[in-house]
Amino acid sequence: MGSIIQLDRLRKTFPGGVTAVDDVSLEIEEGEYVTLLGPSGCGKTTVLRMVAGFESPNNGSIRLAGEDVTELPPYRRQVNMVFQDYALFPHMSVSQNVGYGLRIAGVPKSEIADQVRKALDLVELTSKADRRPNELSGGERQRVALSRAIIRQPKVLLLDEPLSALDANLRENMRVELRHLHQRLGLTFVMVTHDQTEALVMSDRVVVMEQGRVAQIGTPSDLYDHPASTYVASFIGVSNVLTGHVVKSHGEEITINYGAEHMTAVRNGHAYSDGDPVCMTIRPEKASLLANPKSAGKKANLLKGTVREVLFQGSIARASIDLASGDTFIVDLFLPNTSAQSDLPQHGSAVTVAVEPHNVNTFAAEGGS
């Protein structure tokens, strides 16, 4: 297999001095579904547009299936894109839109008709072949854009916020459909989104971007369980972030001084020296509340606090705990069908938060604070 896209030290500065992409290197394997995730302005779309050829980088190179395409115009690159606004041609019918790429390539008419039918079949739009784009619903337009982009069998399919223009219900269906389409076609998909759920649900790997740089690359579960910075931790899901100092390393475990307490965490590949400032992130659902500290596992970290409030959210209840250190700690309480709402901890009651060491993710604190 091998990598289909190699981005090497890409940099893009726009006239006016804004550096949108700053030293981004990335390899994408053939057949992968990779998502660039980040807030607007983080440079993810610019990376995608550079791969497509709409922007040329100031620095660095882009390789596509081994070939350097950095200087090739978009129409010479074997990648196709699904645009955020779909960019369907309003003066052409659905089938003309889908067949456009083949018509440009000089494919005979009968073959175009054939392939268009297949492509429309794939997205279940055969009945709308003669409609104009403005006669279609948002979801249908999206599918036209998709089939138009895949008809030339590109090496890579680029998707720029493909679901952002759809309403919430449709968006959830399309997440699954896109994922299925990816599996069926076996193409490499590179998607840009600002929606973390989308990224986690759909992708094999997620590239989290921050201010033009890659903040972290990993599988969805990697990023969720082991965020490498507070930025990633807070961007993906909800996390409790606590800061402390490394007191002692022993084998796979490290002991961290947090406020007046000592906490144990798993090293997880990080190398720390004693005294290093360190950040701990703990997911709300990986902690539990104990009425009786003695019932905890032997190794569990125990933090004392008082309940500030509990918000009932259906399948879970989210408790905010004021810790002795002054931080607020969030714990998700699962509500099995037997428990009544009256069983929930009350405001002001003293509780203990328990977290197993392997659920404490650590990374070196930024800026040494």
Binding site: P74, V79, N80, F83, F89, I104, N134
Partner: protein, 282 residues
């Protein structure tokens, strides 16, 4: 006490809205009257122009004398007038073609490209829309004198094309701004070269705007005096011909010409409105 207070309040509460309603009603009446007057003001002269083209009397006075088509037959046998119409058609056709050939790339450049001196270029090209036509005419006359061009219908064409450039660029630029850039990117993405993209995607989408602009420019050129006044040689365009006969005196023949022009203009408007609305339904 309490009941009196309440009734007072109720009275005050109903009286004010009533006054307001009267005020609003009379405001509406005033507006309707005024709108009627504006429309009458706009159309009365046009009506007068048309009516008197069918009036027997040589002078344009009331009461009307009787129906005649004489002025039309006079007009069609007037060789100078017909030649002027021919000249105007010639000038307008070529001026419009030139202004489109220059104006469309100019609008493109202003919308899509960044280049040094862009602001100066924009200001320069839009100048004739704000400046008196006389000044455009005189300054071009200076140029032709300096380089030793003889004045002719062709210099008029150059003058009109330059003056109309501002209109063309504004119109096409406005259309391009509303055209999502992603459409052209999609075309390039699907393998089309810039030239293919222009002909297959951009042009079909701005076609209506181009035709609309061409029609506007055609009517403007067909009616143009200030620039023509300075740049024409021995040949007269239609408005110049009318202009020169007007100075000699008024005849209903002019009304006949005017009526025909109005008729043609209305046909052109209906045509362009139809063109601009037909292809798009959203």
């Amino acid at each position: 006490m309490v009941t009196i207070d309440q009734s007072d309040n109720i009275a005050a509460g109903t009286r004010r809205p009533l006054m307001d309603r009267i005020a609003e009603r009379s405001g509406s009446d005033f507006l309707i009257t005024l709108a009627g007057c504006v429309l009458a003001f706009l159309y009365l002269p046009i009506a007068v122009l048309i009516i008197f083209s069918f009036n027997e009397s040589r002078t344009l006075t009331l009461p009307l004398q009787g129906f005649t088509l004489d002025w039309y037959s006079k007009m069609f046998s007037n060789a100078d007038l017909l030649a002027a119409i021919g000249n105007s058609l010639y000038v307008a056709t070529f001026a419009v073609s030139l202004t489109l050939v220059i104006g469309i790339p100019a609008a493109f450049a202003l919308d899509r490209l960044s280049f040094p001196g862009k602001t100066v270029f924009r200001r320069l090209i839009l100048m004739p829309i704000a400046l008196p036509g006389v000044i455009t005419g005189i300054s071009m006359l200076n140029l032709f004198r300096v380089v030793g061009f003889n004045l002719s219908l062709e210099t008029v064409i150059l003058g009109h094309a330059t003056a109309l450039l501002a209109v063309t660029v504004t119109q096409i630029y406005a259309r391009l701004q509303r055209l999502p850039r992603s459409m052209e990117e999609a075309s390039a993405d699907l393998g089309a070269s810039p030239i293919q993209t222009f002909f297959f995607v951009t042009l079909p989408n701005i076609k209506a705007a181009i035709v609309g602009t061409a029609l506007i420019c055609f009517t403007l050129s067909f009616d143009e005096i200030p620039v023509t006044f300075f740049l024409t040689g021995r040949d007269n365009t239609l408005p110049m011909y009318i202009w020169s006969t007007l100075r000699r005196g008024i005849t209903p023949e002019i009304n006949a010409v005017g009526t025909i022009i109005i008729l043609v203009s209305v046909v052109l408007i209906v045509f362009s409105v139809w063109l601009l609305h037909e292809p798009k339904k959203d």
